[in-house]
Symmetry: C2
Subunit: 459 residues, 2 copies
C-alpha cells in the first residue's frame, strides 16, 4: 500500500489520470479538522497540510472494527488512515477515502484553541503557533509562499541575480527611519569596532552588485524601529529591491509593471482555491480588482499635474482630511487613493517628485527642482511600489551628500560613480504589503508567520 500526500491525490483527479486509481488502497497521515457521524457512518474532514482543500474520510460502522472509538477522535488530532481512494463524481468533493483503519498518532485535548467556530483575527494573533492551522492562515501562508516564488521566478527568468545584502550594517540607506541597534554585551561598538544597526534597506549595498552584474535584486528582511501602531507597519518585514544598470526611470517603470503583473497572475494561477477563499470570505471585489490591474496599462502622471488635480478636487468640494494642497507636499494616502480611484481608475505612476521630499540618491531632473522618482499607486491601497533613477553623476551626488552630512562612511557608495558608473535605476516593494494587496487582508500582523510590532513579541 502506497503512502500518499493529499496534493498527490488531488493531482490524480485533476490530471484526469484517475481511472486506474479508483479504489486503490492508500495510506495517509494528517490532522482532523472535524469529525461527525450519524450513528452508522462517520465523516472526518482531514487535512495533511499539502493542500488548502480538505479530504473527506468516511468510516462505516459495518466496515471498521472500532467505530465508537473513532467517533471520539478530536478536532486537531493527528491520525493515520488506511483506506480506499474512491472517486465520487456526483458529490461536492471529487473523491473520498473509504477508511479501513484509522489510528491516532497524536491526541488533542479539549482545550485545543481551534475548535470548530469562527475565531477573530485578534484571538488568532495571540496563538500564532496554532494559527497556521486555521483556514484563513492556511490560505495566507500558501499564497505567501507562492508570491515569494513568483518574485524569484520573475527576476530569475529575466536574468536578475539574487543578492544577500547584509542585515547588520553601519550604513543607514534612507537617512530617515528609526533603526534598531545591535549590541553584544554593554559596549555597543565593541564587537564590530563601531556602532551597528539592522538594515532598513539593501539598496545601497545592492547597487554595488548592479555595477558588476547589471540586473540584481535583494529579497530579505528589513527593519524599522518606529512606534507605529497602524495596520500597515511592522518592525520587521521582507522587501524586494531590484536594481538595474544602464536603465532610466522609464526602464524602471517597465520592470515594475511587468513584475507586478507577473506576480499577480502567478498567484491567481498557482493558488486558485486560496484566492477563491479570499474572494468569498475576505473581499468580494478582490479578483475583479486584481484582474483589472492585469488588464490595465499603468498610467503615468507628473507630480506637478497630480497637485493640480488635487487642488481642483478641493475647489470642487472633495472632502480630504488634509485640504492644504500645495506643490512640495508629501501626498497622503487619501490623496493617492483619490488619484488612483477617482481620476485614473486604475494603477498609476506618479513621477518627478520634489527633490526635498525624496531620498538623497535619486537623480536630479534638469529642472533642478524635481527628481526622477516614481511611486506606483493602486486602488484601495495607495502607494504599492516606490522607485527611482539613481544619481549617477559623482559631483552632484557628492554635493548632496556633503550637504546632508552622510558622506563619511559612504565613500564606497560614491566610488560606484567614480569607477565605471552608469545610469541605473531600481525600486522597492514591501513584500508583506504586496501580500495584503493580493489577498485583500487588512492587517500586516496577519501576513507574517510571527509578526513583530512595537510592544508585542511572544514567540
Amino acid at each position: 500500500m502506497d503512502k500518499f500526500l493529499a496534493r498527490e491525490l488531488f493531482a490524480i483527479v485533476y490530471d484526469k489520470k484517475n481511472s486506474g486509481f479508483n479504489n486503490i488502497e492508500v495510506y495517509l497521515e494528517g490532522w482532523i479538522k472535524t469529525n461527525r457521524n450519524n450513528g452508522s457512518i462517520g465523516f472526518i474532514e482531514f487535512n495533511d497540510g499539502t493542500t488548502f482543500k480538505n479530504i473527506q474520510i468516511v468510516y462505516d460502522k459495518t466496515k471498521v472494527k472500532d467505530f465508537d472509538k473513532l467517533s471520539k477522535l478530536a478536532t486537531g488530532e493527528a491520525i493515520s488512515v488506511i483506506g480506499n481512494f474512491v472517486l465520487t463524481p456526483n458529490a461536492k468533493q471529487p473523491f473520498e477515502i473509504a477508511a479501513k483503519e484509522i489510528k491516532s498518532i497524536g491526541t488533542c485535548p479539549e482545550d485545543y484553541p481551534l475548535q470548530k467556530k469562527r475565531h477573530s483575527f485578534e484571538f488568532l494573533r495571540d496563538i500564532a503557533h496554532i494559527r497556521p492551522r486555521a483556514n484563513t492562515f492556511n490560505a495566507v501562508n500558501r499564497v505567501r509562499n507562492a508570491l515569494a516564488m513568483a518574485i524569484h521566478t520573475y527576476f530569475q527568468d529575466n536574468g536578475f541575480m539574487w543578492v544577500h545584502t547584509p542585515i547588520i550594517t553601519s550604513n543607514d540607506a534612507e537617512g530617515a527611519g528609526e533603526t534598531f541597534n545591535v549590541t553584544v554585551g554593554k559596549d555597543a561598538s565593541k564587537f564590530f569596532g563601531k556602532p551597528v544597526c539592522l538594515t532598513v534597506s539593501g539598496q545601497l549595498h545592492v547597487e554595488t552588485f548592479a555595477m558588476a552584474f547589471r540586473n540584481v535584486y535583494t529579497f530579505g528582511p528589513t527593519f524599522r524601529a518606529e512606534e507605529s501602531h497602524t495596520t500597515t507597519h511592522a518592525s520587521e518585514f521582507w522587501m524586494v529591491e531590484p536594481e538595474i544598470a544602464f536603465a532610466d526611470l522609464n526602464d524602471d517603470m517597465k520592470v515594475i509593471e511587468a513584475s507586478l503583473k507577473f506576480c499577480i497572475d502567478y498567484v491567481i494561477k498557482h493558488c486558485p482555491d486560496e484566492m477563491n477563499f479570499f474572494n468569498t470570505m475576505i473581499d468580494k471585489t478582490l479578483l475583479t480588482r486584481l484582474n483589472h490591474v492585469l488588464n490595465s496599462e499603468f498610467k503615468r502622471l507628473d507630480y506637478t499635474d497630480a497637485i493640480k488635480l488635487l487642488e481642483k478636487a478641493v475647489a470642487d468640494g472633495y472632502k480630504f482630511e488634509n485640504k492644504n494642497i500645495k506643490w512640495g507636499m508629501d501626498l497622503q494616502t487619501e490623496h493617492e487613493r483619490y488619484i488612483t480611484e477617482h481620476v485614473v481608475k486604475g494603477p498609476v505612476f506618479i513621477i518627478n517628485y520634489p527633490k526635498d521630499i525624496k531620498a538623497f540618491y535619486m537623480r536630479l531632473n534638469d529642472d533642478g527642482k524635481t527628481v526622477a522618482a516614481c511611486d506606483l499607486l493602486v486602488p484601495q491601497i495607495g502607494e504599492l511600489v516606490g522607485g527611482s533613477q539613481r544619481e549617477e553623476r559623482y559631483d552632484i551626488l557628492k554635493e548632496k551628500m556633503d550637504k546632508l552630512g552622510n558622506t563619511k562612511g559612504l565613500e564606497w557608495y560614491l566610488d560606484l560613480r567614480k569607477y565605471g558608473g552608469c545610469p541605473h535605476a531600481g525600486f522597492g516593494i514591501g513584500f508583506d504589503r504586496l501580500l495584503m494587496y493580493v489577498t485583500g487582508m487588512a492587517n500586516i500582523r496577519d501576513m507574517q508567520p510571527f509578526p513583530r510590532t512595537p510592544g508585542s513579541i511572544k514567540y
Copy 2:
C-alpha cells in the same frame, strides 16, 4: 538595431540557432576588462554582467572614426557598443563584435583598484564594493545565486513551503551560542516589552508550520555573536532549515542526501563556466570530489562505532591533535575528516550521538543515552549538515526543558506536542559553508556579498 545582453548572444551560439544572426547589428552596454591594440586593430575584453565569460569587441582603425581615443578607454570603464555580431567558429571565442561605434558611458580613473593583475583575496575583501567585478567573485556570486535557487527548486518541487521565520526573537533555539542584542535607545526592553536578540536558528518557529503544512523550510539570515576568527565562522550567515512532519531520522537522512545531490548537480549544470574556473584556479580536485558525492550512496555509522574506529586509529598510531578519544566526546573536525576520508572514503552520516552533547529538542533513543541525531560528514570539510528527529513526546521533552530551565517562554513549543503532535524531523545547512564546499573556496569571508565578522564592518 536591437539591444542585446551578453547572455542572449551566448544563447544564440549555444542554441545553434545562430545562422540567421551572423552579421546582425547589435547594441551592447557593459564594462571594459582589458583594452589592447596592435596599432591598427584594438581588442576589448567586455563584460556586461550577464555572463561569466567575456565578449571580445574588435575595433579596426580603418572602420572606426576615433581609433586613438578608443585605444585609451580604461579598464573598468562603462561603455556602449554598436557593432556586428560575427561568428568565429575557428577562434577561441565562438563570436566577436566588430565595432562600428564605441562610446564611453562612465570613465574609470587610473587609481581603479582592479587593474589587470592578480589580487589577493585579502586585498579584495578590503574593497568589497568593487570585488564583485573581479573574476573569482564574478564566479562566486553567480554560483551563490544558482545554489540559492537550487535550494528553492528542490524544496518547492518536493512540496515544501518556504516560511519566513522571524529575525528578531525572544527565544534562543540552541540555548548555546552567543546572541546579538537588539535595542532601541537605551532601554533594552522598552520597544518590545522584553529583551530581544537576533535569531540563531529558525527551527523552533518553523516546527510550528510543519504541524500545519507538513513539509516546510526556512531560508534566511541567522546570527552568532561569537568572537571566532576562523575561516568558517561569520557573525551573519544564511541557513536552510527544512522540517518534515510524520518523519523519523531515516526520512530525514533521505531528504538530506537527495537535496544535497540535487543542489550539487544543479550548480554543475547551471554554472559550467564558473565551475570549470574553480576547478582550474581554486581546487583541481573539486569536480572529481563533487561528482564522487553525486555517485555515492551516503553511508551511515553509529556514533558508538565511530568512537571505536577512532580508538583503533589512535592505537594504530594515527596522529590526531586530540588523541583522548572516549565515548561521550564531541568529535572534532580532524576526527570527522579521518572517518569520511580514510575510513568511509565518501559522505557518511554519523547517527545516534550521546544526548548530553546535542540539543534539548532531539529525540531520546530507547537506550536512554543517545538521541536520534545525524551529522553528515564529507571529505575535506567534515560536518556539512546537522539534523535530528525531534522529541515529540510531551512528558519527556518537558522534563528535559524543565531541567535545562528553558520552559518559560517556550510553552508554545511544548504546545506543538500537546495538540495533535506527531513524529517529525529536520535539519540545518549553513548556506555559506555549502557554497564553500561547492566552489572549493577556503574562506567564508569570500562567500558573502558583505561579510560580517568580529571587528570588521566597513560597508
